[in-house]
Structures are given as structure tokens and as C-alpha cells.
């Protein structure tokens, strides 16, 4: 039997390595687990929305190159909670932290 830890899902298409690293650091500092999967889908909003819906915790992140978006289960596909184009390091950290804070029921940074 495979037991999976409840995690934030990150669905990524050709993700930028630096972006991935900082997002993951943001999540890790908040003490939540995450799982990174490479996807064929190239639509950022769909990546984030699917990730949130597939995650047991209802929180997901989409990455398409250097475009990133955060979603929560129950939110419309077209309205990601937070998103950036070509984010800087702080924005990546913040988005990662917020995906974790969504689960912890803490206000977003």
C-alpha cells in the first residue's frame, strides 16, 4: 500500500528552476509538504486549478515557465488567488508561503 502525505500539489510545465526552488522554499518555511509534478498542459490557470482540486489539502500551484499561479479548491478556474508573470524571488517565496497559509487558515502575506 502506498500512503501519501497530505501535500500541496505543484503542477508545472517547463518550469524555470529558480522559480520552482523559491516557491518550494516558501512552502517549506511554513512547514507544509508539497509534491511537484511535470504536466503536458500549458494553460497556467488550468495547471493551478487542477493542482488545487487534486490536492488532498485543496491548495495548488501552477507553473508555466516563469509564470506562476496559486489556487484553492472551490475558487473559479479563471480567478486564481494569486499570480505573477516573471516574479522576483520574494514573490515566489510569498506565493509558496500563501499556498501553505491557505491550509493553515492564516492570513496571506
Amino acid at each position: 500500500m502506498i500512503i501519501k502525505k497530505p501535500s500541496i500539489f505543484i503542477y508545472a510545465n517547463e518550469p524555470d528552476a529558480a522559480v520552482v526552488k523559491e516557491i518550494c522554499a516558501g512552502i517549506e518555511e511554513e512547514g507544509v509538504f508539497f509534491e511537484l509534478n511535470e504536466m503536458e498542459n500549458t494553460n497556467l490557470k488550468e495547471l493551478a486549478w487542477n493542482a488545487a482540486n487534486d490536492s488532498m489539502l485543496g491548495s495548488g500551484i501552477g507553473i508555466r515557465g516563469t509564470y506562476i499561479a496559486m489556487q484553492m479548491r472551490g475558487i473559479e478556474k479563471n480567478r486564481p488567488v494569486e499570480s505573477y508573470q516573471n516574479p522576483d524571488k520574494e514573490q515566489c517565496r510569498k506565493l509558496g508561503a500563501n499556498s501553505a497559509r491557505a491550509i493553515k487558515k492564516l492570513p496571506f502575506k
Binding site: E29, E30, E76, L106, P107, F108
Partner: protein
């Protein structure tokens, strides 16, 4: 048929009521409106607000202001409210002796002791000496972890202090787990080579060792004398989730008591009292003084400056000479204000003792006739100054269904709380007390450290809720409210105010329970105290038992909880008390304006 307008100019609000006088002398009420008062009450700049309110009222019935044939203006009481706040203590850290704050993600619960070692000096560390390593944000979490892991074999590293929010990231990469505190902004101020104790609380708890003088003594090996001097440090760390205490020779936290000064009462029974004796004592002295002619403060002290400032502000506004302005009543309230500690490393604040004071300033008779003249010229209608404010308020209050004479009213406004009792014969006794809605807002602003009067005012007016998911909120009374449209993520996890126009976000991270408690206490301190003070003054034989009905009017009577608080307090005296409902439809507003229209009939007869 003629239209008659009653106009009430208050410190905060200008209210109008328009009625039609029939030939038989009966009055038919048509419309009403209110606008913020423009300028200081009783000055000619009030006319802007008056005209705006009249226009608003008349447009509701599709008429013009020109259709009004008579304007009746209240003889506004020449009392103006003002508020001030003075802190009595200040906390100063000398030689950066502590850090105490609540980073959201520190790591590795527990305590540790060691000498502060800056990470750039790690190569100079001596084996066998315990160290607490401090690292600025210019080092990445990977670099810090690598350096610590490398040195860990030779050096005894017991704890870490970080500038960046990376405690968990560093901890996850360390071979040996130690407590780590992060988000220390002024890490550059940490002195190297100084013995220090560090503590991170368990999840959901607050620190135990460093908030206890003996805990600090145990960790830093202090003698009895040194333990005594660290007591203010322990006190200021109570409730924190993480802390560092440094053992610097001259390092200390000092609580300065500021010279507060005497308050002098020139009164029937003149007296004086020191501000730092506290609100209760001050109010006792005020009450024993009888009729007060003027209140001043000891020159060159906080309280002296405070009263001087209030008087100066008033004389500048209405052009009266300073000597003609008298403070005839004050309401003092004890409070605590979170103040940034000078010398703090991580933006720590300390609750300082403070006193909030509302003052009742009596000026010369207000130039109501000048306002009347200006209105007459500008509107080309008859304008009359008619009737005393409190009497008019009583007349208006009597239109509340279920009231009869004798009746007491409590007019709870912005600057003052006024009371009046009308006997069965129509005899009226009135009083004005310092302190009302403005003081409540000021207390909320200071106690929560908001630094913003507007949000304090909103906290006063609206119930609180916590946004617990994107689809529901928990209201402060425990009730859950579910929302169909998903809530804007900006509100997620936040404490919000439930206003008519939707959520208002409170920026500062303060627990909902704490905000609610401060809000209720502020209202109680001001309005319960003042309701008793005011009614006692006007009650027959100064005995509350001689009052059977109290109608609450004025802006603060619209408050969602103040009327209930007063109702509860007064029920002990078997007094029926409730929010007025002027003309059965206006709620607690418009009493004076309505009274002015009603009194027209009486005058004609």
C-alpha cells in the same frame, strides 16, 4: 400652509427636520436629513453643512430649499468636547539587551545558552565554548546550514538567530537541531561575544523561561541583584513566542515614570489631584468639587501641556481669547497603549500606562445669531434662534412611542454626553458631561495601537468576524455565516468588520477576541460612567431612584451594543431604558431638530 425647518448643529452632525404647520396649529412631519457639521460648532462656517442638509431633506420630497418659510435654529449649548491622551510610563532598552517577538515560523522549540557569535566570525570560534550564531539575510539558508554543519563538529552551536524568515529552512538542513529565531530586523545591532539565552516556545504556547526572572537567572547564572534588574525584561517578554536575552554589563530595560503633573480644579470646592493617581481617583475629586469654573494643569508637565493644548486649539478655532475659555468638566479613563520600545531590535512594543481625557470646554455664548443672520441672507427666509438644545431634545424624544412625562433623556453624541429630566409640569433640568463617542474611538485607537482614527471609528461601529474559509466567516458571537459567492482572498484568515457595504479588513494582526474586549471596555468606561454621572446630576434630589424612564438619543445611541450595556446597568435601579425612536421612525437621531419644529406650535399658542 408653510414649511418649517428645525436645525440642530452638533459637534459632529448637523440634523434637520422639516414639518408643515396646518392652519389649526397641528404639525405634519415631512422629511429629515443629516450632514457632518462643517467647522467648529457655533461658528459661521456651520452654514455650509446646514444648507447641504436642508437641500438633502427637501429633495427627498421633491421641493427646493426656497420653499421653506421658517428656519428654527437651536440655541446650541456653548460646550465643545475635546480629547487628549498622555502616556505615563516609557520603556527604554539600553545596550540592546533583549529581543522578544512573534515570528510566525521560528524553529526547534526549547532554550539554549551561549555566547553570541556572528556568522562571518565563525572561523574564530573556540571549541568547548557554547555559541549562539547570528546570521544576516545576506547569507542564504543553504549557506548558513552548510557553514553550521561544517563547524558543528568542532564548535558547540546551541542556537541560531536569523534576520530572514528562514528558520524552518535552516533547521531542515541542520544535522544537529537547535532552537532558531528568525525575522530579527536589526540583527546588525547584536553585539558579538556577549552571553545570551534564547528560547522558542512549543507550538501554541508562549515562552516560559525568559518571561520569568528566575528563568533568566537560571539560564544566565545571575545573582540576586542582577535578577532584580532583569525583571522588566521578563515582564516585557510575557506572551511572546520567541525571545533572546543578552547579558550585557550595562544592558537593561528601564521603565521610566514620566512626571505626570497635578490637575487643578477651580471650583465650588477647589482641589487638586495628580494625574498618575489614576482615573478613579481623578473622577472622585471631580465629583466632590461641585460646580467647576475651570480646570488647569501644572505648567511644564504632561497634563499642563495637555490642557493648554486643548484651550489653545479652541481659541484658534473660534477666535475667543484664551482667557475666556474654561474647561468645566473632564472624564479621565485609565488605558494602556502599546508603544514601540526605544532601542528594540525586532520592533517590540511595550504596554505603557496612559490616561485618556475628554474635556468639556465652555466658551463665550456661541454666536448663533451670526449664523442665523448669514442663513437669512443666503436663503432669503426667516431664521429664528429658538430654544435650548436639551429642552428641544426632550421634546423630540417624547415622540418616541411608549414614552410619557416625567422623562429623562441621555443625549450621547461625539464630544459630550448630555442629560435632561423633564418633570410632569414641563420643568427641565439639564447637564453636559465631557466624554462620548470621540473618546471611545480614541481609546480603541490607542489600546490597539492602530495609529489611525478612522479604522478605530469603524471598529467601534461594526461587529467583528473571522474569515475562516473562502466560504464562511465566524462572527464574534460564535455564529457561522456561509456565503455563496467565494470571499475575496484578500480577506482570507483575517479579522474583518461586517459593515453595510461589506467586509472591512483590519490590517493589524490582532486576535478578534482582543479587539472585541478592548472595544467593549472602551464603551463601558466612557458611557456607563457618564450615564451615571449625568443622570445623577439631573435626577430629582440627585437620586437615580427618582428616575423611571430613560430615552437614549444621539449618534452614539445608534451603537449596536451601548444601549444594551446601559439597559443592563440601569435595570438594577428599575429604570426602563432604551434607544429612542424619534417620531416612531428616526431611531435615536433627529431629536433636537424635531423638538424645534414641535416647539413652534407651542410658541404660537
Amino acid at each position: 400652509m408653510s414649511y418649517i425647518a428645525g436645525i440642530d448643529i452638533g459637534n459632529s452632525t448637523t440634523e434637520v427636520c422639516v414639518g408643515e404647520a396646518a392652519a389649526d396649529g397641528s404639525i405634519h412631519f415631512l422629511t429629515s436629513a443629516s450632514c457632518p457639521t462643517t467647522g467648529t460648532k457655533g461658528t459661521v462656517s456651520n452654514t455650509h453643512g446646514v444648507k447641504a442638509a436642508l437641500k438633502q431633506a427637501m429633495s427627498k420630497i421633491g421641493r427646493d430649499v426656497e420653499d421653506i418659510s421658517l428656519i428654527r435654529l437651536n440655541e446650541a449649548a456653548p460646550v465643545i468636547g475635546d480629547t487628549a491622551m498622555e502616556t505615563l510610563t516609557e520603556t527604554i532598552i539600553t545596550d540592546s539587551s533583549m529581543i522578544g517577538h512573534n515570528p510566525s515560523t521560528p524553529a526547534g522549540a526549547g532554550q539554549a545558552v551561549g555566547e553570541i557569535l556572528l556568522i562571518e566570525n565563525i572561523s574564530r570560534g573556540v571549541p568547548g565554548i557554547p555559541y549562539i550564531v547570528a546570521a544576516p539575510a545576506s547569507y542564504s539558508y543553504e549557506e548558513i546550514a552548510a557553514i553550521l554543519n561544517q563547524s558543528g563538529d568542532s564548535l558547540d552551536i546551541t542556537g541560531v538567530i536569523l534576520q530572514a524568515d528562514e528558520a524552518v529552512l535552516v533547521k531542515n538542513r541542520l544535522h544537529k537541531k537547535v532552537p532558531i529565531i528568525d525575522e530579527v530586523a536589526r540583527i546588525d545591532k547584536l553585539p558579538g561575544g556577549v552571553p545570551a539565552a534564547i528560547e522558542v516556545a512549543l507550538p501554541g504556547q508562549t515562552i516560559r523561561m525568559l518571561s520569568n526572572p528566575y528563568g533568566i537567572a537560571t539560564l544566565l547564572d545571575l545573582n540576586a541583584e542582577e535578577t532584580r534588574t532583569v525583571t522588566p525584561i521578563a515582564k516585557s517578554l510575557i506572551g511572546k513566542r520567541s525571545a533572546v536575552v543578552l547579558k550585557t554589563p550595562g544592558g537593561n530595560v528601564r521603565e521610566n515614570v514620566l512626571p505626570a503633573g497635578e490637575i487643578y480644579l477651580d471650583a465650588e470646592h477647589s482641589a487638586s489631584v495628580n494625574l498618575d493617581e489614576g482615573a478613579e481617583k481623578i473622577m472622585q475629586v471631580v465629583s466632590d468639587a461641585g460646580i467647576i469654573r475651570d480646570i488647569t494643569g501644572q505648567p511644564e508637565t504632561n497634563v499642563g501641556n495637555m490642557f493648554a493644548r486643548i484651550k489653545k486649539g479652541m481659541s484658534e478655532l473660534d477666535g475667543t481669547a484664551n482667557g475666556d475659555i474654561h474647561i468645566t468638566d473632564i472624564l479621565a479613563v485609565d488605558t494602556l497603549a502599546p508603544v514601540l520600545i526605544s532601542g528594540a531590535l525586532a520592533g517590540e512594543t511595550c504596554l505603557e500606562k496612559a490616561v485618556g481625557i475628554a474635556a468639556m470646554v465652555k466658551t463665550q455664548k456661541l454666536p448663533m445669531r451670526q449664523i442665523a443672520e448669514k442663513l437669512r441672507l443666503e436663503l432669503d427666509t426667516d431664521v429664528k434662534v429658538a430654544g435650548v438644545e436639551a429642552v428641544m431634545a426632550s421634546l423630540g424624544a417624547l415622540t418616541t412611542p411608549g414614552t410619557k412625562l416625567p422623562l429623562a433623556i441621555l443625549d450621547m453624541g461625539g464630544g459630550s454626553t448630555d442629560a435632561a429630566v423633564i418633570s410632569e409640569e414641563g420643568k427641565v433640568v439639564i447637564t453636559h458631561q465631557a466624554g462620548a463617542g470621540e473618546l471611545v474611538s480614541m481609546l480603541i485607537e490607542t489600546e490597539l495601537g492602530l495609529g489611525d482614527r478612522h479604522i478605530a471609528e469603524q471598529i467601534k461601529k461594526y461587529p467583528l468576524a473571522k474569515v475562516e474559509s473562502l466560504f464562511h466567516v465566524r462572527v464574534e458571537n460564535g455564529q457561522m455565516t456561509f456565503i455563496d459567492e467565494s470571499i475575496d482572498p484578500r480577506f482570507y484568515g483575517r479579522v474583518v468588520l461586517l459593515s453595510e457595504e461589506g467586509f472591512i479588513r483590519i490590517e493589524k494582526d490582532i486576535p478578534m477576541e482582543k479587539i472585541a474586549q478592548v472595544r467593549r471596555d472602551a464603551k463601558r468606561k466612557v458611557f456607563v460612567t457618564n450615564a451615571f454621572r449625568a443622570l445623577q446630576k439631573v435626577a430629582p434630589d440627585q437620586d437615580l431612584k427618582n428616575i423611571s424612564n430613560v430615552v437614549l438619543v444621539g449618534g452614539s445611541a445608534e451603537d449596536f451594543e451601548i444601549p444594551e450595556m446601559l439597559m443592563e446597568e440601569f435595570s438594577n435601579y428599575r429604570i426602563v431604558c432604551g434607544r429612542g425612536n424619534i417620531r416612531g421612525q428616526e431611531g435615536p437621531r433627529n431629536a433636537v431638530a424635531t423638538g424645534l419644529v414641535l416647539s413652534y406650535v407651542g410658541e404660537k399658542q
